[in-house]
């Protein structure tokens, strides 16, 4: 391990070759103090993200799935340093960015961008589409003069499938799907290598979701982008992602390739999650055994000891409350899981 550099090298702006490691996250933790309302006394800690590891290669798509409150959004923002990590390291193309100052991290913003969930609140209602997309260029002094920026914005609008004449209009004149295209154009303005997609389609109508999924896939092929997709929709993740990590209460409980996770899940939580997804085919109604989990997700302020899933797990043993299962390859499954009693379940598809 090398000492944290004080600034980023210029190397990060060169395009990596496909498959080269882009991002590495090691033991990332984000803890939020809980304070009383009046005296601001610290009452406890919410362990929103409690030690996760990830790697992402250039041109690859990895999915971070989990239910609300599992910490996936916090993890995404901590990787971008929009939230300060409590512990752990985020390494982008070999440079540790965890301890860089706000100013020193700015060059990195050109390479890592985010697309947010809500197409309504993610665009400033008082700016024209053109100035929204041009803002990143202005911030980084890129795109040359105003004429050059104009050309770049036109190019970006075309790239996301919008007519460039629409640039002089305001966000509220567009529908949800079109606004999401504008948000994607903004994220692409700086020509990044990595996009963090935080639930990019879950706020959209069913018939529009596929448009955005196809757009993202097309852009990935065209621009060799790497995606970190944060989502709760398991079908979407299955459709786009090469690799998948399943989160529960701040920890990754299972990680592997798409086929490993969807065809042969080993962690009981993954199995329950997959079995709960309704299938749009009435002829398959009786085919699968639905695993109904008991109760609700415990509070991340006071997670269960040992394995965090044990309170809802039908296989829980006494060991589960004392031993914290590490995310590891437990043999014979070929991928990582965090269960003391993993079991491979073949799922028909």
């Amino acid at each position: 391990m090398t000492a944290a550099p004080r600034s980023l090298s210029e190397d990060i702006h060169t395009r990596p070759s496909l498959g080269e490691e882009l991002l590495r996250v090691e033991g990332l933790k984000v803890h939020f103090p809980v304070r009383s309302t009046i005296l601001r006394r610290q009452l406890g800690v919410v362990k929103a993200v409690d030690g996760i590891d990830l790697t992402l290669a250039a041109g690859e798509t990895i999915g971070l799935v989990g239910e609300s409150g599992c910490g996936k959004t916090t993890a995404g923002q901590a990787i971008l340093r929009l939230i300060e990590p409590t512990a752990g390291r985020v390494v982008f193309r070999g440079s540790d960015i965890t301890s860089l100052s706000g100013r020193a991290i700015r060059p990195l913003r050109r390479e890592m961008q985010i697309v947010l969930q809500d197409p309504f609140s993610s665009l400033d209602p008082r700016m024209t589409v053109r100035s929204i997309i041009a803002e990143p260029l202005l911030v980084h002094g890129l795109g040359g003069n105003s004429r050059g920026r104009r050309r770049r914005v036109d190019e970006l609008l075309e790239l996301v499938g919008l007519r460039s004449e629409l640039g002089s209009r305001f966000p509220h004149e567009f529908s949800g799907g079109q606004r999401q295209r504008i948000g994607i154009a903004r994220a692409l303005a700086l020509n990044p290598q990595l996009l963090i997609l935080d639930e990019p389609i879950s706020a959209l109508d069913v018939s529009i979701q596929a448009q955005i999924i196809n757009l993202l896939e097309g852009l990935q092929a065209e621009l060799s982008l790497a995606y970190l997709l944060i989502a709760h929709d398991l079908a979407v993740v299955k459709h786009i992602c090469d690799r998948v990590a399943v989160m529960y209460l701040g920890k990754i409980v299972e990680a592997g390739t798409r086929d490993e996770i969807y065809e042969t899940p080993t962690h009981p939580y993954t199995q329950a999650l997959l079995s709960a997804v309704p299938i749009p085919d009435p002829s398959k109604r009786g085919d699968k055994q639905r695993i109904l989990l008991e109760g609700d997700v415990p509070s991340p302020q006071d997670p269960p000891s040992g394995c965090r899933f044990r309170t809802r797990c039908w296989k829980a043993q006494p060991e589960c409350s004392t031993e914290v299962p590490e995310l590891a390859d437990r043999g014979e499954h070929g991928h990582l899981n965090a269960c003391l009693f993993p079991e491979m379940v073949e799922r028909s598809s």
């Binding site: 923002q77 971008l80 929009l82 706000g102 991290i105 700015r106 913003r109 050109r110 961008q113 985010i114 947010l116 969930q117 809500d118 609140s121 993610s122 665009l123 400033d124 209602p125 008082r126 700016m127 803002e135 990143p136 911030v139 980084h140 036109d154 075309e158 790239l159 996301v160 499938g161 919008l162 007519r163 460039s164 004449e165 629409l166 002089s168 209009r169 305001f170 509220h172 004149e173 529908s175 799907g177 079109q178 295209r181 948000g183 903004r186 994220a187 303005a189 700086l190 448009q211 196809n214 757009l215 097309g218 852009l219 092929a221 065209e222």
Partner: protein
């Protein structure tokens, strides 16, 4: 509907080169003849529909015109004393009669609008300006800066401000400038609170998160996103503050702490109404200034209401 409105033809209508292969275009129908709906244009359209507010606006515009054209419009010199014509009832010479010093009431009313409007606009603008500056600072910086500013605001808002205003005016000596400064000094906390609250809610919006992700500095986010966002509630507050300032000026002049005699002001004209005989027997001395103050304040408040509805961020644009 004709053939050339078909969307599939529109989709190929791109200016340079057309859609990128492999990337699905948006393909929705879009009527380019529709005017661009900027937020301010929408607000104006909504404001116009608010009849009372629109009426109020016209009233205030006329009042401003009167104030500017006062020397042309006033039938007499407002400050010429004519002791022989003291407290004359309305007549052909003096449409609204004369006051105790024999000055023409109508002319004094017309010139008095200058004082009221100046005080109203200047005090409201300075209060709103100071409030915005401190409110933005508190909202964007947060932490101890926020805590200090907000405690100061609390202190200001818990004082009986009228008494302090009276005291300050008495100490500094009455004049238009004093009144403006003193009113602004006590009214900024209202603007400050609203601006801070708005700034805090804008900070939580996703577009600010997106701006941070692109590497925008705090200063840039404040300038480009937060400040324009607080502008609309601020307009409403400033309007209502100016109504309050006009009332305060009238009250101060009524108590003899307003502009110096012989300069005409509406509140000063009311000062005469402190005597019971005048109240009972000489209504031309106090009804016109009283009515015009009430109407002006009402008109401005209507404008404020209309602006509030027109600029309501909760309403869909």
């Amino acid at each position: 509907m004709t053939d050339d409105l078909r969307p599939d033809e529109q989709a190929t209508d791109h200016v340079d080169g057309g859609p990128v292969p492999g990337i699905p275009p948006d393909q929705s129908e879009w009527d380019d003849s529709l005017p661009i709906q900027s937020p301010w244009r929408i607000a104006w359209r909504r404001f116009k529909r608010h009849r009372l507010a629109f009426g109020g606006l016209i009233f205030v515009i006329i009042l401003v015109a009167i104030a500017i054209l006062a020397p042309i419009l006033a039938p007499q010199d407002p400050n010429v004393v004519d002791v022989s014509a003291s407290r004359n009832p309305p007549s052909a010479d003096h449409l609204l009669g004369t006051d105790s010093a024999g000055r023409d009431v109508l002319s004094r009313l017309i010139f008095g609008s200058r004082v009221s409007l100046t005080v109203g606009v200047a005090a409201a603008l300075s209060a709103a300006g100071l409030g915005t500056l401190l409110g933005l600072l508190a909202g964007v910086a947060g932490g101890w800066i926020d805590a200090i500013i907000m405690r100061v605001v609390d202190v200001f808002l818990s004082f009986p401000s009228l008494m302090l205003i009276l005291l300050l005016v008495a100490v500094l000596g009455p004049s238009v400038v004093t009144i403006i400064v003193v009113i602004a000094f006590f009214e900024w906390p209202t603007a400050c609170r609203i601006v801070r609250q708005m700034a805090l809610s804008i900070k939580e919006q996703d577009f600010v998160l997106a701006a941070r992700a692109t590497g925008s500095s705090r200063w840039r986010i404040m300038r480009k996103h937060v400040a324009p966002g607080v502008l609309s509630p601020l307009t409403v507050v400033a309007t209502l503050l100016s109504a309050g300032a006009i009332l305060l000026e009238a009250a101060l002049s009524f108590l003899g702490l307003g502009v110096k005699q012989p300069q005409a002001s509406w509140g000063g004209m009311l000062e005469e109404a402190q005597s019971l005989t005048i109240l009972k027997e000489m209504p031309w001395l106090w009804i016109p200034p009283g009515a015009i103050i009430a109407l002006t304040v009402l008109a401005i408040n209507f404008i404020g209401d209309g602006l509030r509805d027109a600029l309501d961020p909760r309403q869909q644009m």
